[in-house]
């Protein structure tokens, strides 16, 4: 069942000076925009906790017509600088939607492609990639993520750009026994790997450099498979 989006109100025509006009219009608009953003927040938030919880996010995804495992939701979280996986606070929501200039569901939906482009810019993607890892750390002092979650995360974050590397790495992680978790250093190492090493030739790869050991073993495993 679709929730109704807030209806737009047309601003009245104004007769005072242009800057004043602009300023008062824009500040009115801003407050109105923020109201609408808040209103939208309330439609998905849990009343008692005043947070959008996993159920609310599920609803949001449905309305945006994206799967909740779609990378764009993760990108949205990044834009909001959301801290806890599965939850959006009001502040985070405001931050994200304001930055995207979206105060209705439709506008938010339309903003997603633009957001994706922004995230995929070389200058941003590394940051987003690191963010994705941190986002999955649920416990207080947690520093690593279990293999299964990593595999899912890799698929979401890198699946569309580095399909082959992800598929092979995921297969390797599932087969091997040395590692039960992956830490941030290894996570970032994989990103560097995808960007710097040609696949599947991997001629540039040198295990005597400071690549994380898990990648050394991964490369070795592939060479043994292909041999």
């Amino acid at each position: 069942m679709r929730r109704s989006a807030a209806s737009k109100k047309k601003s009245d025509s104004i007769t005072t000076s242009t800057t004043d006009l602009f300023r008062s219009a824009s500040s009115k608009a801003t407050t109105k925009e923020m109201d609408r953003i808040d209103h939208l927040f309330n439609q998905y938030a849990n009343i008692s906790s005043n947070l959008i919880d996993p159920e609310g996010i599920e609803e949001l995804c449905s309305n945006l017509e994206v799967s909740h495992t779609d990378i764009r939701i993760l990108m949205l979280a990044w834009k909001m600088k959301a801290e806890k996986q599965g939850y959006f606070t009001q502040e985070e929501w405001r931050r994200g939607l304001k930055a995207l200039r979206a105060d209705t569901i439709n506008k938010l939906k339309k903003a997603l492609p633009e957001l994706e482009k922004e995230v995929r810019r070389q200058s941003n993607f590394a940051d987003f990639y690191a963010y994705a890892f941190r986002y999955c750390l649920t416990e207080e002092k947690q520093k690593s993520i279990d293999i299964e979650t990593i595999c899912q995360l890799l698929d979401i974050v890198m699946g569309s750009t580095f399909r082959a590397q992800v598929d092979y790495f995921v297969e390797y992680l599932k087969i091997q026994n040395d590692y039960k978790v992956i830490n941030m250093d290894q996570w970032m190492g994989f990103y560097r790997f995808c960007n710097e090493i040609s696949f599947p030739e991997m001629t540039e790869y040198n295990p005597e450099l400071a690549w994380p050991l898990v990648l050394d073993s991964f490369v070795e495993w592939i060479s043994e498979k292909e041999a």
Binding site: D167, N183, D185, Q186, R192, E208, L209, A210, L213, D216
Partner: protein, 679 residues
């Protein structure tokens, strides 16, 4: 709009056409090149047919068909081609190698095309992967049938090469790679074991004739060394590297050990110090655990060599000898230390060695050991047992050996061991004071106090002591507290010895048992018969440990307790009875506890110590340098630890990553090859 449903027949037809093209491509037949686009099309077709909603989800049928395709290919193409060549050995090998290679290409291509099945259907249904199934067909239909013929062909080639003929090494190598790909055990059982037997008989014949012919020992040694060299080259040309040590052992055995008496005599007669052969003979004996007369001859020789090469300044031969011998005993550090133990305990045949001789041998063995920290660790463990079980070696002698070892090896080699001996001296002094303290005799109690951390760690388990023993423990504790403050005593009953008087029908016999065993026996003072459960409840000992104890008293050579039923193992329903009919020839009998093999544990302990050592070294280096590239860090690390062992780059990398997780280090933001120290 819903995508169009692909029905199975249609879909499979399309895929099959692609596969046919693939088959021809894999055989390098003239076909247009199989393009990436074609691959993608086939992949997509498979994908589509798998994601269609039920009942159009054809994952299972596709898997089935793929397997059938491979099997059919085997039967229609591969097998006939091989059967054709059965008459000619060499052609058979060539055909095998080519067919195998083509088949692998096909299977790999199929597994790429059907990769979508691999990711979901195959995993979900826990089925074997397409590659596994494919390889299985080759193994069952080709390998099992032909492998003995193939092996004969290869061994014939090897013998030809030994006689000086040129053979096709490339094909031989590929054939053996094929064995290895089928599985290492297949390589080992179906090829290697036969190859080793073949080699042994070949060299046995050669050795016998050369020993008769050759006048000078040098000629014999020269020829033998050449053969060894050629065999090693053979490994690098086409055998698997793991065959090398086994092959070398067989050849050395036939060439050196079988005729060692003659070799040693000739060496002595010609006044040659035959380094190589002696090292090899020595090594083979070290690996053999029985003591025999030949060993004594060897020890004599070793002592002579020691005099010549370690005492005199003979540089050139020194390094040659050193290298030769080290190579010969690589990996035998545990054995060397065990050998030392035997020598020190003087468990010989008739000839006794002087203490000086013993020292020379021990130093020599320590000198040639490769990984000194492993040698030291085993030596320490053996020393501990000698000291604790009081096996009749004088402290002074042990000290003297340690002093010599200390001079020879810098660093921490003997630190702990010296302190162990000190502990014992201290304990003996303490014991005298204790006797005075106790005044009236109860059970005669002798206590040895070991400083923890200095001695090897010993496992023990708790047990409910009988009152008499509890009192003893308490009295000693009181006494000890008068001598020292703030120390905690943990009793290692597993190392304790008790002398228990057994009043049997025929005669009283003194039983020498461990403390744990004694506690069990004392239970039978109040009752003749006790069930397993009774014993366990009274003693509060874990099942595994209790089984071990009861086994030693009821199922071993000396049955102090009768077990009902009289089976080979102890179970929870057994009942034990005091065996009043027990008797023995002697009036004192030792009841041993079955030994646990602790070699694995020692290696584990050394590995742990090494990890700590590497961590400490890395932190020390990084603290000083603040930032360092990986290569430099590794080389500094290796340099600092080189005395005791050689860490490899993989282990160092692992430790660095661990230190990063523990926030000692971080990777530099700009340069991923560099690490920074985190204060």
């Amino acid at each position: 709009m819903e995508p169009k449903i692909i029905d199975f027949e249609q879909g499979w037809d399309y895929i099959e056409t692609g596969i046919t093209a693939l088959k021809r491509h894999s055989e390098s037949l003239p076909v247009p090149k199989f393009t990436l686009e074609q691959y993608c099309d086939l992949y997509t077709a498979v994908y589509k047919m798998c994601v269609q909603k039920s009942p159009y989800d054809f994952s299972s049928q596709l898997y089935q068909k793929c397997c059938e395709t491979m099997e059919e290919y085997m039967n229609s193409t591969v097998l006939p081609a091989l059967n054709e060549k059965l008459g000619d050995e060499y052609m058979l090998l060539r055909e095998l190698v080519e067919r195998w290679s083509n088949y692998k290409v096909l299977v790999r291509a199929l597994s790429h095309i059907f990769f979508y099945l691999q990711r979901f259907f195959i995993v979900r249904e826990s089925l074997p992967s397409i590659e596994t199934v494919g390889m299985g067909y080759f193994r069952d239909l080709v390998y099992n049938k032909l492998q003995s013929k193939v092996r004969e062909a290869v061994l014939a080639l090897v013998d030809k090469e030994r006689e000086g003929e040129d053979i096709d090494r490339k094909v031989t190598k590929r054939v053996l790679e094929f064995y290895i790909e089928i599985g290492m055990e297949r390589y080992e059982q179906d090829f290697e074991s036969f190859m080793l037997k073949d080699t042994a008989s070949y060299y046995s014949r050669k050795a016998s004739s050369w020993i008769q012919e050759d006048d000078s020992i040098n000629d014999y040694i020269f020829k033998s060394e050449q053969c060894l060299q050629k065999e090693k080259e053979r490994v690098s040309h086409y055998l698997h590297f793991s065959s090398e040590p086994k092959l070398v052992k067989v050849v050395e055995h036939e060439l050196f050990v079988v005729h060692e008496n003659q070799i040693l005599e000739k060496t002595h007669a010609e006044k040659q110090i035959g380094l190589g052969p002696l090292a090899k003979i020595f090594k083979q004996h070290v690996e053999d655990t029985t003591i025999n007369a030949k060993e004594q001859v060897l020890i004599r020789k070793v002592i002579e060599l020691h005099e010549v090469y370690m005492v005199t300044e003979c540089f050139q031969s020194h390094t040659l000898f050193h290298k030769d011998l080290k190579r010969a005993v690589a990996g035998s550090d545990a054995l060397l230390a065990t050998f030392c133990d035997r020598i020190i305990l003087k468990k010989w045949g008739s000839e006794e060695l002087s203490e000086e001789d013993i020292e020379k041998v021990v130093m020599f063995l320590a000198y040639i050991s490769d990984e000194k920290d492993i040698f030291a660790e085993f030596y320490r463990k053996k020393l501990a047992l000698r000291l604790l079980l009081n096996r009749g070696v004088s402290d002074d002698h042990e000290r003297s050996i340690l002093t010599k070892l200390k001079q020879q090896n810098r660093g921490q080699f003997t630190f702990k061991m010296e302190r162990m001996i000190n502990d014992l001296t201290l304990s003996r002094e303490n014991q005298n004071s204790f006797k005075e303290y106790v005044a009236k005799p109860g059970i005669g109690l002798t206590v040895t106090v070991l400083t923890s951390g200095i001695w090897p760690s010993y496992k023990t388990f708790g047990i409910n002591l009988p009152n008499e023993m509890v009192k003893c423990v308490e009295v000693f504790k009181e006494f000890y507290e008068t001598k020292t403050k703030g120390r905690k005593l943990t009793w290692i009953h597993s190392l304790g010895t008790c002398h228990v008087n057994g009043k049997f029908d025929q005669k009283s016999i003194e039983l020498i048992v461990s403390t744990h065993q004694a506690v069990v026996l004392l239970l039978f003072n109040t009752k003749d018969k006790l069930s397993y459960n009774d014993i366990q409840t009274q003693l509060n000992v874990g099942h595994e440990d209790l089984v071990w104890l009861l086994y030693s008293l009821s199922c071993g050579k000396y049955k102090i307790l009768i077990k009902e039923p009289a089976t080979e193992t102890v179970s929870r329903t057994d009942v034990f009875e005091f065996n009043s009919k027990f008797t023995a020839r002697m009036c004192r009998v030792k009841i041993p506890l079955p030994h646990v093999n602790d070699k694995k544990k020692v290696i584990e302990d050394v590995d742990k110590d090494r990890r700590y050592a590497i961590d400490a070294t890395i932190v020390r280096i990084m603290k000083g340098k603040k930032a360092l590239g990986l290569q430099q860090l590794v080389s500094e690390c290796v340099q600092q630890l080189n005395q005791m062992f050689k860490p490899d780059i993989k282990t160092i990398k692992m430790r660095i990553e661990d230190l990063i997780t523990r926030d000692y280090l971080e990777r530099d933001r700009e340069n991923p090859n560099m690490f920074r120290y985190l204060a």
